[in-house]
Every structure is written in structure tokens, then in C-alpha cells.
Symmetry: C2
Subunit: 251 residues, 2 copies
Amino acid sequence: MNPSPTSARNLRSAHDLGDVVLRPVRGHHAFEGCVEQLATAIRLGVFASGSALPPERELAERMGVSRATLREAIAGLRAAGMVRTTRGRGGGTVVSYEPTAPARGGTPGIAERKGELLDSLVYRRVVEPGACYVAASRTLSASERMLLTTSLQEVDRAEDAATHRQADSRLHLAIASVTGSPMTIEAVTEVQGCLHDMLQAIPVLEVNIEHSSRQHRSIVEAILGGDATKARRAMEQHCDDTAALLRGLLG
Amino acid sequence: MNPSPTSARNLRSAHDLGDVVLRPVRGHHAFEGCVEQLATAIRLGVFASGSALPPERELAERMGVSRATLREAIAGLRAAGMVRTTRGRGGGTVVSYEPTAPARGGTPGIAERKGELLDSLVYRRVVEPGACYVAASRTLSASERMLLTTSLQEVDRAEDAATHRQADSRLHLAIASVTGSPMTIEAVTEVQGCLHDMLQAIPVLEVNIEHSSRQHRSIVEAILGGDATKARRAMEQHCDDTAALLRGLLG
DNA sequence: TGTCAATGGCATGACCTTAGACCTTTAAAG
DNA sequence: CTTTAAAGGTCTAAGGTCATGCCATTGACA
């Protein structure tokens, strides 16, 4: 009666957790992963235009990859015009990528990733408010407090949409960073990568920027003040507002 | 005066985000990753003893790895005595791992991972309460509600410490699963893997089990009742209590 | 009972990745 | 000006990973 329950197989539970926990061990080739990670870091403004990437040997070690592989990745970035490389002492690989304003010439490849992107909005709602809570609960060092205030100022000071977008990402990463938790930082980095792709795909409204700036201020204020609950609530609101906006535009 | 600020390099900000966002592209070899993931799933009870793993071809595809690589991983599990493989139609790879009671014969390799494990407690505090909130916010299908109640019952019914440990993991994975968010599920899976390793390393107290069972009940109750705030608060309490216990034992 | 299909077992060749050593270039240091 | 050290550029041998196709085994089904 049941569709072929072979003795062993049907011991698996109905709503099978096994179907759900097994994830790809790794997406693609190592060098593609490197390209993606570096490109994301650059686009998010973690490495500003004009600044140098760490030396290849150091980068390779930090990314857990051989120098040959890392070099292939850098060659990819160079081919894409995101970095320029010079040799000799004092040389290195320098970021030549200038942030571009959102919604320039359509949305390349957003539609195909719709599922992943919608998921990232849910995940963000989980991760970022939690990170805020943790950040606000900790006693922050002077340099950590400085990182937060500086990042916030950079968001406020941004004059064009492109710089503002990067400063926004950096602020969120800064908040994650002051949790002191590598896993949390990784999660926020992943989320911000997706978010950036979405926000680049839509036109920016002045109203939205003003609105989110207010939220940013109250988030940072709450974290610096050590009010974990308030910090989380503020970030929740921020995530929900952004998500509503983006879900509307993804259909 | 400053320690050698070469023109380009010092454009990197003081509290350098770049130092913090770059993560290993992938830990180790693909087949090690497979072993780890499958072994964790088995130890957490996602694949119960006696049940069959999916066919190699299917598993390989789901894990994004070639069958050759996956087979090497399975060979590893077989060598470790966790699975048994039979050929022919109706054959397959069957889990032969029986859960073991915590704290049997010391704590192999917990000390070296101390940093990672402590981090996972912070990360858990971020992820699981958030997952609860999302789960409680959704309208759950009948089978999702069933999954939750069943998982809860299994925790309560567990008669020895070993099965209780697995049922506990499965309940947490079930909660993640009903968020419907793959990224969230992945995060909780990772966290539960670490948590399991820690909890296996300590003796279980009847008191603690009783305490956490109460918390489990109120968590599931809140999720089923759609009370997101209450669900999150209950899970926060649960995480904090477990974390306090474990931090004490990790030094 | 015989056939078949689902499953694990195996082999091949192309490609990727690694580790390490060594070369070349070039600015900084003396 | 010479030396030096810090970078990127190149090579090689060994091993990991992949896609694919085919073989071997064995329970299910007619």
C-alpha cells in the first residue's frame, strides 16, 4: 500500500531531516570561491578603492588556499578590472574598483537567484538582530567603540548613492565585528553580500536612505549604551523595513 | 613615526575589517568535509541507527561532490564502524552507529577546539533564538506542526542519556527546519554539531535534563501558538543556561 | 524461475590544487 | 650608489577531484 517501503529505508522519518541537513560541501572550485569572496569584499567596500590587498602569501594563508590558486583568483579580478598589480618591493595588488550607483542598466542575474535571495532576507532577520544583541551585551574596547562611531559617520557623510551603499555594508560588518565572534561575522558577511546584490539592483530613494540612517543611529546608540534589547529591536525594525522593500521588488 | 605606512597600505582602516571578513575558502579536502558532515548527521541522530543513507549517486549530487569522492568518505565511515554497506538491489549503506552515553572515557580533542567551541556558544545565542522567532511567525503546515510535536515527544520519551542527546539535537534541527530557510538550517546544523561534541564530553545530570525538558516544552508550545516573542525568549533562556553550564566546563 | 533494475564497485583521463623552491623586479635602507 | 628585503612571477612533481562509463551483485517482480 505504501509506495515501496523497503525495510531499512522507511525508518527515515516522514518529514526527513536528512533531506534538509545535507548541504553542498563546497560550491565550486577553490579559485572561484576566492574570486567570489574577494570580489564581494571589494564591492562591499571592505577593501576601499586605492588600498592594497594583503600580500599574496599572507592572503593565501588566511584564505586557506595555495598561492597558485589565490593567484589564479587575483588574475580573475584583474581581468575584471577590479584590481591592478605591480611588482617589486612596495608593489602589490591595489583595488581599482569604483563603487557604482545602484540600478545602472538593469539587474543582471538577480531573477535566477530569487530563491537564494529571499532566503537571505529571512536569514538576515535571524542573524543581524542577534548580532546586535550580542554586541550590545559586551563591554567594548575603545577601538571597538571608535570603529562603530566612525562607521556610522561614514554612512551619514556619504554624498552619493554608491558610497553610501558601501558605507552601509561596512557599518553592518563593523557591528558584526564587535561581537568578537568569527562565526557571527561570517554569517553577516554572507548576508550582506546577498543584500548588496539586491540593493544594487534597485533604484535608491532619498526617503529610504533618510529612514535607514535614523535606524542606524539608534542601533549604534543602543549598542554603545549597552542596551541589548533596544539594539536588537532597532535592528529588527531595520531588517524588516529593508526586507519589505526588497520583497516587493523581487516579486 | 607611524610604523612604516606605505602610501597604499595605510588606506586600510585601523580596526581592519579585511582582517576579519576573509575566511578559509574551505577547510580541507572535499572528502574530509563529506566525512565530517555525514558523521555529524549520524551522531546527531539525523540518520538513525538501522536506517539507510540515500544511494551514493543521490548523496553525491546533494552534497555537490563526485561519486568517487563521496565513496571515499563512506569508506571512511565504514572504517570507523559507523555504517555497513551491502551491494545489490535493495542494498545500500546502513547506519550501524549506536549513540553512546556522554563522558565515556574522557574528552578527546575538546581542549584544542576550545576557541571554536566557545565561539559556537555565542553564535548559537544569535542563531537559535532568531530561528525560533521566525518559526513562530510563520503559519505552519500540519506536517510541520507534527514534526515539532513528534520531536518533542521523542525527547521526553528518551530513556537513556545517549538517545536523549540525539533527540535533543533532532528537536533543535526540527525547529530550524520549520523556518523553511536553508541558510538558517545550515547555521543551526553547524551549531548543533559543536554543541553535541561539548555535551558528549561532560557527564549528564538528571537535574539539567529535567530543566531543559521544561524549556523545550515551552519553546515548542510558543512556536505552535505563534507567539514569536515568547518563543524567542524561551530559547534565549535555554541557550544561556546550556552555555553557562558548558563554559564552566571548558575553563 | 528467470529477468530486470537498483545499487555498490571500479577504471580512465582530464583537470585542479598543493607545497615548495627559485627567479625577477623594484623600492626602501644604509 | 650599493645592498637588501619585500613583493609578484614561474616551475615541477605529487596527489586530490571530477565526469563518465561500465561491471558485479542481488533483491524485487513478473
